[in-house]
Structures are given as C-alpha cells and as structure tokens.
C-alpha cells in the first residue's frame, strides 16, 4: 500500500511502470521479488554497481534495465 505517496513514471525492462517517489534500486529489486544475487541493474545505459543500490533513488523518466544470467554459448 503506497497510496499516500506521490509516484513517478519510469521504464523498467522496456515496460512503462509507476513507482513510489524515492524508490531506490534496492527497493525496486525487492518490489520485483527478485533475488539480488542473480540480477544486475543499469539506469539509462549506465551500470548501477550493487554497492550503490540502496543509495540510488530512481528519477522520473529513467530507463531501468534489470538483467540476469540465462543459458548461452
């Protein structure tokens, strides 16, 4: 329940999505119910090192990429 808070619009993995203002990368990963150890995050084509996830809030319009490892050769 985020009702009281203002929200921002970002693009996560190509999908427009609305997030509570002040959402950090760490919080986003948590919201997406992802295991942090199996993902990495980029904002506007620039890596956000995992050490900085907790202190990096998302800004409106940012393009976030959340990636993981899949089978490949």
């Amino acid at each position: 329940m985020e009702s009281a808070t203002a929200s921002i619009a970002c693009i996560v993995n190509g999908e427009p999505s609305t997030l509570p203002e002040g959402t950090t990368v760490a919080r986003l990963v948590e919201r997406l119910a992802l295991r942090p150890e199996v993902v990495a995050v980029e904002i506007d084509a620039r890596l956000v090192p995992r050490a900085g996830w907790a202190s990096r809030p998302l800004a409106p319009g940012e393009r976030i990429e959340v990636v993981t490892l899949v089978g490949g050769g």
Binding site: N13, A45, V66
Partner: protein, 268 residues
C-alpha cells in the same frame, strides 16, 4: 587421478586456471536439470552464460545460477546478441557486477543472419574492456592477423570460429588455425562451429589450446551421451597432439614384419 603418461599443463587464461580444455555453453537445453547433468558429464570447469533482461512476468523460478556449482565451474559470461561495441561493453559491465569476476567472452556480431563477428566493433570493444580491467576472451574470425591485433590490444585469449555459430561444420580452415597458433602467444580456443566429437579432436590435434561448444551437445538427440563424447574427444585430441602423430604417406608401411614369412608366402 591422471596417469603420468597423460600428464598435461592446465589451460591458463588471464587469472583463471582451467583443468579441462573443453568449455561448454548453457543454451538450448530442455531444462535446468539437463543443463546441470550435461555440464557435469562434460567434465568442463568453465561454462558460458548470457546476460538477458529479467522476465518480470515469469513466475520466479530457480535461476540458471542454481544449476551451476560455482565451486566446480568458472562462469564465463558472454556478450552474445550485441551488434555494436557499446552494448557489448555495457553487457560485460553488468555481468561483472553480477558475478564479481572480470572474465568475459566478448562477442560483437555483424548481422543476425550469419552471427559472424564484426572485426571493427570487436577491436573497439576489446580495447575498451581491457582498459576497464576485464580478462577478455574474444570471439573472432579465423583471420590470423586479426588475432594478432586482438592480442596487441590485450586480449587474454582469441577464440576463432571454426565455422559459423551453430553450423556444425567443424574447423573449416586448418591452415588458418595453424598460422594463428604460430602468430599469437595467448591461448587460442576454437569457439563455434563444432558439430560432432571429431571436430573437437581435430581442433585439439591442430594445436588449439581449448574448444568451446554448446549447440553440438544441447542440440544432439542424446545430449548427455554427446557431452560424454565431447569430453573424451577433447582429451583424445589433446593427447594425440602431445603424443606426436605418425607422418602421412601416400602408402604403405607394414605393421607386421616382412621377414620370417613361411616358405612360399613371398610376394613379387
């Protein structure tokens, strides 16, 4: 325990030391369990993976990482699917942040039809990734002088395609591979093109330091059996290379003695 008559050096790429000279991919398997068993049977201690967007809708299932025992296998992330240096570099950075390792297999492809590497983008990305401190293994064509250029830029391994990715044609140009091996000092690992066991054996007999393959195992009718075949073929080819094969001749050199044959058995 390896018997003394089969003793060999490990394969060293940058800071990584590999016991097996067979590197295997993790793509196209039926499921994670088949992937896990194929890796185990192959005896490889270096497996490649790709970096892709998390599927936000998908049920949160197990991750590929759960199928790979990192105490047994080094993980080699690739930049497959990148068609320019910039996205290849971004992909490498994401992988390094995720895995905490600096090893990367660089792929900068030229087009989606052939998936052949683009030499210009590949040179550019190699330079950038080396600057950033990665141990870069570079997927490239078998052009020997391109290999030299990549080594000059600091690549830790050159990985020429024996033939196009997934084509199953093996090493098409033995001569180019031989010359590349003469010209560079970093490990040369044949990447892509393997179709069956003898392709691996031939690459190793030519002197390649290792072979990387994926489709040849995952796409076989019996992947687990093919994983075993590739493991054995890699060892066979390596040992044949080290053992020093006999020469090729137009014909004939008797393996049974010609002397002491019984009366009347003589030839012309």
């Amino acid at each position: 325990m390896i018997p003394e008559h089969e003793a060999d050096q490990p394969l060293v790429v940058g800071d990584t030391t590999l016991r097996s000279r067979l590197l295997v991919g993790t793509g196209k398997y039926k499921d994670l369990e088949e992937t896990r068993r194929a890796l185990e049977i192959s005896g490889s201690d270096c497996v490649t993976v790709a970096v892709r967007r998390v599927n936000l809708d998908a049920s949160k299932g197990p991750s590929l990482l759960d199928a790979i025992d990192r105490s047994k296998h080094h993980i080699l992330p690739n930049t497959a699917g990148c068609f320019d240096a910039k996205s290849a570099v971004r992909t490498a950075e994401l992988a390094r942040d995720l895995l905490g390792t600096k090893l990367v297999k660089l792929e900068v492809l030229g087009d989606e039809k052939t998936l052949l590497p683009d030499p210009v983008g590949t040179l550019e990305a190699t330079k950038e990734l080396v600057l950033q401190g990665f141990d870069v293994m570079v997927y490239c064509s078998d052009d020997p002088r391109l290999g030299v250029r990549l080594q000059e830029l600091g690549a830790k391994s050159v990985m020429p395609a024996g033939s196009p990715i997934g084509s199953g044609q093996g090493v098409l140009n033995h001569n180019a591979l031989r010359i590349l091996l003469e010209l560079v000092s970093v490990p040369v690992i044949v990447d892509a093109g393997v179709g069956t066991a003898s392709d691996v054996a031939i690459a190793m007999e030519l002197g390649a330091h290792g072979v990387l393959l994926n489709t040849a195992i995952a796409g076989a009718r019996e992947p687990l059996r093919m994983a075993a075949a590739m493991r054995d073929a890699c060892r066979a080819g390596r040992n044949a290379f080290l053992a020093g094969r006999i020469e090729r001749k137009l014909y004939a050199h008797a393996s049974s003695p010609m002397a002491g044959r019984i009366h009347g058995a003589g030839g012309s």
